[in-house]
Symmetry: C2
Subunit: 188 residues, 2 copies
């Protein structure tokens, strides 16, 4: 059983993935988490505080899901493909909530700093993986790891939104991402 | 002076770019367009009808902006770079509104079919440009034009959202997109 603040953040992420964040009221989160609104205000101060912590929570959870999936393979090239496109209900929920908070940051300056920091962390992690591929002699000799990581993560975000809005199938999104890794690093 | 329906669609696009589409009321569009709500209902039936036509309008306007910019260069490689990343107020407004409608389609099935059709048109246009590059002997010999176009447009969407949410500068977004075109098609 997660502690109360985690339980509240899980409920907030679930709601954001299901109905979006705009107009989301603290009362809805309280009903979803089965706790009082007072407890939410006690832990997160106000709605803005709750949203910022939820964005952080979603971003950290994405890292955990990716780390768990990474353990299924030692090949850094395979690991590059995971990104946020996984058809596991929890990962899909997380991608939807993360996408929604990204889209909302266009209108809500309050979310921007955290979004930029989380994006930077993700890009740096991926750039590290690309350097491993290069050092293992598995391709990408001429590539700038940071620029390639910026492109692959931005592409994953674009493809994730197409998948979640029904414009592209998950299988096609995977094919395109695999193609992008090959284009960036050359064939394995 | 644009006709009344166009004036209403322009006002709707402006509002969506500024404050998002969720919770947008027909009354706000009527105030922004300086027309009666009755006229909006007359032309668009209801809020859902207005949103669908606004999405179509934004998508067609994006094609017009791109066409206008295309005339500044005969080089299809240069034309590939334009996509939706242009720092012209009208184009920026259009990108913001388009991004918001994309993000909203995750929660609103009513927008999905139009979004998928508009995306398909855009991908096909770009695939045509890539074929021109190939036929002109200007690179991209081995590339699958349609897959490359799907990747470049999804990347442009991801980068556009990063630009509009303040995560990436427009200059960096352009550099990354230019790098992606070179990665897809080889150096010019």
């Amino acid at each position: 059983m997660p502690d109360r603040p985690t339980q509240i953040l899980e409920a907030a992420a679930r709601l954001i993935a299901r109905r979006g964040v705009r107009g989301l009221r603290v009362e809805e989160v309280s009903a979803e988490a089965a706790v009082s609104t007072a407890l939410i205000y006690y832990h997160f101060k106000d709605r803005a505080g709750l949203l910022r912590r939820t964005l952080e929570f979603i971003s950290q959870r994405a890292v955990r899901y990716t780390d768990a999936a990474l353990e299924t393979s030692d090949d850094p090239r395979v690991q590059l493909l995971l990104l946020e496109l996984q058809d596991v209900p929890q990962v899909k929920e997380n991608s939807a909530a993360w996408g929604e908070l990204r889209a909302t940051a266009v209108f809500d300056p309050d979310l921007r700093e955290l979004l930029a920091a989380a994006t930077r962390d993700w890009v740096e992690d991926l750039a590290g993986l690309i350097r491993q591929v290069q050092e293992a002699g598995a391709g990408g000799v001429g590539a700038d790891p940071y620029a390639a990581a910026e492109r692959l993560t931005a592409l994953a975000e674009g493809l994730s939104e197409r998948w979640l809005s029904g414009t592209t199938s998950l299988q096609r999104a995977h094919e395109l991402l695999r193609g992008a890794v090959e284009t960036e690093l050359g064939p394995a």
